[in-house]
């Protein structure tokens, strides 16, 4: 029987959040097709992540464990998945819209003679054709398009925080199978020679409950320090639209949007940013959106719940002051 296959990612020994979301999505698709879910984990030192995948919905887990997969390179990963595809012949392959997933999906699809759709926010099975319909934002999020492909396997990457994981159930049972793709490591043309972590101190942006996000209108690195203070005070994390990152006021890894981080906090406060479609792509899932902008026509107000029209340099200090008072009282 064909399966719905997912390619998982492991971060510090545990399945990444997006992997659990994709397992949830795969379960639904497999349910509609009457199929099983299998997960593939590649790396060195997979350990307990295979069982974790079962507890989040996989019926079968293929582990591809070898030094060659310790670092991601598409030569190794596409090569291994090509071999596994020949054996497992999945109907569908899903992965995360992550640095690795977006690199892997198109190359794997074209190797296998099929097609991929990246950054999907909804996946459904057409009851008549049994094909997967893949919904993805286009034009930076100004529009949404639905794609279908008859070529198998049907491949898609999934935007983080758009699908729900199953509740973890450690009593679920499943099978773990070690798979050896038999690749020749000397044929690999890419070699990762160094990895640099640029971590932001404090709460992780993607996990924060409150995000304070500044835009081009904030104006300088110094002014961003004030926003950082505000974020800290609210127990949240600092984010930015792209221009402050491009200008070097803040590091690139706090960019929120289509080509940055995806956030969906309880409270998102957008300060002196216009709310371009590409920025909204990374934050429109926030539960409460608050905007401060001097331009009443700014797009961000279109998706906000609360807003202040005014100069942030005047609004924010008073806002921060009052928050401090309320939080200490």
């Amino acid at each position: 029987m064909a399966d719905v296959m997912i390619v998982g990612e492991i971060i510090e020994g545990k399945l990444s959040a997006s992997t659990t979301e994709i397992l949830g999505a795969a379960r639904k698709l497999a349910g509609d097709l009457g199929q099983n879910v299998c997960a593939v984990l590649l790396g060195s030192g997979i350990g307990d992540a295979a069982n974790e995948a079962i507890s989040f919905g996989a019926d079968k887990v293929y582990t591809i464990e070898n030094e060659m997969f310790a670092d991601y390179t598409n030569d190794a990963y596409v090569g291994a998945l090509e071999k596994l595809n020949a054996e497992a012949a999945p109907e569908i392959i899903l992965m995360g819209q992550t640095s690795n997933g977006m690199d892997l999906a198109p190359r794997l699809a074209f190797r296998l003679g099929s097609a991929a759709t990246l950054d999907c926010i909804d996946l459904t099975i057409d009851p008549d054709t049994k094909l997967m319909q893949k919904t993805k934002p286009v034009y930076g999020g100004n529009a949404v398009a639905v794609y279908v492909s008859e070529a198998k396997p049907q491949i898609a990457t999934v935007r983080s925080k758009t699908m729900d994981p199953l509740a973890q159930d450690t009593s679920r049972s499943g099978e773990v199978v070690a798979f050896d793709p038999g690749l020749d490591s000397s044929a690999m043309r890419q070699k990762v020679v160094d990895k640099v972590k640029e971590e932001v101190e404090g709460i992780k942006l993607e996990d924060a409950d409150v995000v304070v996000c500044g835009g081009r209108g904030v104006g300088s690195a110094e002014a961003f320090e004030e926003l950082r203070e505000l974020a800290k005070q609210l127990n949240g994390a600092l984010g930015a639209s792209r221009p402050p990152c491009d200008s070097g006021w803040v590091p690139n890894n706090i960019q929120i949007g289509l080509t940055g981080k995806m956030v969906a906090p309880t409270v998102y406060i957008g300060i002196a940013l216009s709310g371009s479609s590409q920025h909204q792509a990374g934050m429109s899932g926030s539960k409460n959106i608050i905007a401060i902008n001097k331009d009443a026509e700014a797009n961000i107000f279109g998706i906000s719940h609360y807003g202040v029209v005014g100069d942030y340099k005047k609004v924010i200090p008073a806002f921060a002051e009052k928050c401090k008072e309320l939080l200490s009282g």
Binding site: S99, Y139, V146, Y306, V315
Partner: protein, 260 residues
């Protein structure tokens, strides 16, 4: 060092949501008369990446390739004005409305026709369909290695050394040549065209190819529909006598809503 850069002409991605419209027949964005189409921004970063490699090597040829309508010539000329050496344009109805696979396959055919190359640069993602597949796809079809989201590319001892952007940092990768890299904005601001560059670009001939020169590939996926999502809900504007008071009132409002 021979380099090929693939560039695409797109509807201006800074078009605000309010003026963004879809042509339901053509299933794509309507091009507004007063907003000219532009070079897809990451493709402009790709041109910059190639020019940086050329600058560092002190030699080399940067060839600009674009598939699109007649007006795609504008983005080729723009890239030549930045410092590109040669332009190649693919225009034919058979190249229109194709999917990422066919786009990659058509460009790969054209690249084979161009012939010799050491590095191919593409943008990491186009600003219209946001597909993010064509660069890697070309590499797969040509059978050469690829690295995506590159923020620095150098050539050392016949190999490329590139930095790839990751969610929390970056990694350095050594890659054998020829290779393809997709470029991210972290590579740095694209250079402005100088007056001299603009004048030189105006004189350069662009080679034109149609589907009789480059065989058009068949698409593997179809778009079923496209629509503009609707946002429901109202924004409550918090007022105040002064901006400061509005700030204070916002804090009170968020407390009332139990958000802080």
């Amino acid at each position: 060092m021979n380099m090929i850069v693939c560039v695409k002409q797109v509807v201006d991605p800074e078009t605000p949501a309010a003026s963004f419209k879809i042509d339901p027949e053509a299933k794509r964005a309507l091009v507004s008369k007063d907003k000219p189409m532009v070079i897809s921004p990451f493709d402009e970063n790709a041109v910059e990446a190639a020019l940086k490699v050329k600058d560092a090597a002190g030699e080399g040829k940067v060839m600009i390739l674009s598939m699109g309508g007649e007006s795609a010539k504008d983005v080729i000329k723009h890239s030549l004005a930045m410092g590109g050496d040669e332009g190649y344009q693919m225009t034919d109805p058979a190249f229109d409305d194709v999917d990422s696979y066919a786009t990659a396959a058509n460009l790969a055919e054209a690249i084979k026709k161009i012939g010799e190359y050491d590095i191919i640069f593409c943008g990491r993602q186009d600003a219209d369909w946001d597909a993010g597949q064509v660069g890697t796809g070309i590499a797969e079809i040509l059978g050469i290695p690829s690295v995506t989201a590159v923020k620095k590319a150098e050539v050392q001892d016949g190999k490329a050394v590139v930095e790839r952007v990751l969610a929390d940092g970056y990694e350095t990768i050594e890659v054998t040549l020829p290779a393809l890299f997709t470029v991210s904005n972290e590579i740095g601001e694209p250079r402005y065209a100088t007056l001299k560059g603009i004048m030189a670009a105006a004189k350069k001939q662009v080679t034109n190819w149609s589907s009789s020169d480059v065989t058009a590939a068949q698409a593997r996926s179809q778009m079923l529909k496209i629509y503009i999502p609707v946002h429901e809900g109202e924004c409550e504007i918090i007022e105040g006598e002064t901006a400061e008071e509005a700030g204070t009132n916002l804090a009170l409002k968020l407390r009332e809503a139990k958000l802080i």
